[in-house]
Symmetry: C2
DNA sequence: GCTAACCTGGACCAACGAGTCCAGAAAGCG
DNA sequence: CGCTTTCTGGACTCGTTGGTCCAGGTTAGC
């Protein structure tokens, strides 16, 4: 992708751009990516199509990608500060609560889930984005797991990286089920069960 | 839903109907549900729109639902006979292998994943379908877990139903990650880790 | 305040895709 | 056969949607 002389944004321009991304994100959360039209975004953000194409020359795909990037950040942000301080079982519990709280609040409107399933497949850029997010998430969990292993709270025989991968998958699965059935029970059960099993290895 | 005098199908009609469902399923597997158009299905199955509306008066939504129902069956079928005989650790391993094999072969083209994420949200009928599938899957796993508990191979303190829910979520999450990144590593790691942890509770 | 950028509104277009209609072929059945 | 019902092809409508264009307004910086 040739960076093609990106135009400098005015403060006003930057604000509009941000408004578009936020508005699109909200719309997508509520109705899904494919169901969200550019006109919807225009109406919600009080802008016109020309703006959208001004800030996102690549059209809808580029906008969606920008939204996805924003939401990916938010996924990790919403788990902080707990995610970076998984140094004791109470800390893990706090993190667990934060995760559940986040998804309980969002209900079936998981922004990232929508993105990675509706746009993720197909475009390599989106795949890359998703892979990066998962990688980062997994790395943080791994750090927490290793800390617990050093503290003797988790069996050191376990492969921390694979276990972290399992945790990420567990959450993702719970969220997928939440999105497609509306019930959060599986997410809770999955997360709690896995943590219980880990605790039991000490 | 008033069953509205369903027309009797001739053998030829039934065959055509089946051909449409199969063709639509294949198309959806490759390109996603929203990206699949009725014209695509027509072209692939050598039929015309009038056929589709003849057999699925509800239009695309009804067709998608029929495909989803078919794929839901297949999900469970593909795990048999292992899923119903989880009575020993080797049996569990066979089941695990069957699951991995299935998804490795399908790669990113998970039919049901596509359906439940692209159609599942929104229409209550699809939600119901998904819920039913998960419930059934979970029930089979729970039976296996309880058997292992009675055999003293898994700690009887564990709540078998919640653990089964965790397993389902684990797989679903691994599959979601597979679909959005193309890597099967998380599915393997998640499933293996969970099974290892269960084994360790004996 | 003047010039050259950036920014905005809204009309317009072309493509596409779901769904409709109807005439006619092909079964079922007495 | 002859009559009814089911089945099939394909042309047609029509709303939607991503994307274009351009004229006019606004901001930055000298």
């Amino acid at each position: 992708m040739p960076t093609a002389t990106k135009p400098r944004l005015t403060t006003k321009g930057a604000a509009t751009r941000r408004r578009i991304v936020e508005g699109a994100a909200a719309e997508i959360r509520e109705r899904g990516a494919t169901a969200t039209t550019l006109d919807d975004v225009c109406a919600r953000t009080r802008t016109s199509k020309s703006q959208i194409f001004h800030y996102f020359p690549g059209g809808k795909e580029e906008l969606l990608l920008a939204v996805a990037a924003r939401e990916a950040e938010r996924v990790l942000e919403d788990q902080q500060p707990h995610l970076s301080e998984l140094t004791s079982w109470p800390a893990w519990q706090n993190w667990r609560d934060a995760v559940i709280r986040r998804y309980r609040r969002q209900g079936m409107h998981c922004p990232l889930g929508v993105l990675i399933t509706e746009l993720g497949r197909g475009t390599p850029a989106a795949q890359e984005l998703t892979a990066r997010l998962i990688e980062q998430w997994q790395a943080e969990l791994r750090a927490g797991l290793e800390h617990m292993q050093r503290a003797g709270e988790i069996n050191p025989v376990l492969d921390a990286d694979r276990t972290a991968a399992a945790l990420v998958a567990t959450i993702q699965g719970g969220v997928t089920i939440l999105m497609s059935t509306g019930r959060i029970t599986h997410l809770e059960a999955a997360l709690d069960t896995t943590l219980d099993l880990l605790r039991a290895t000490a």
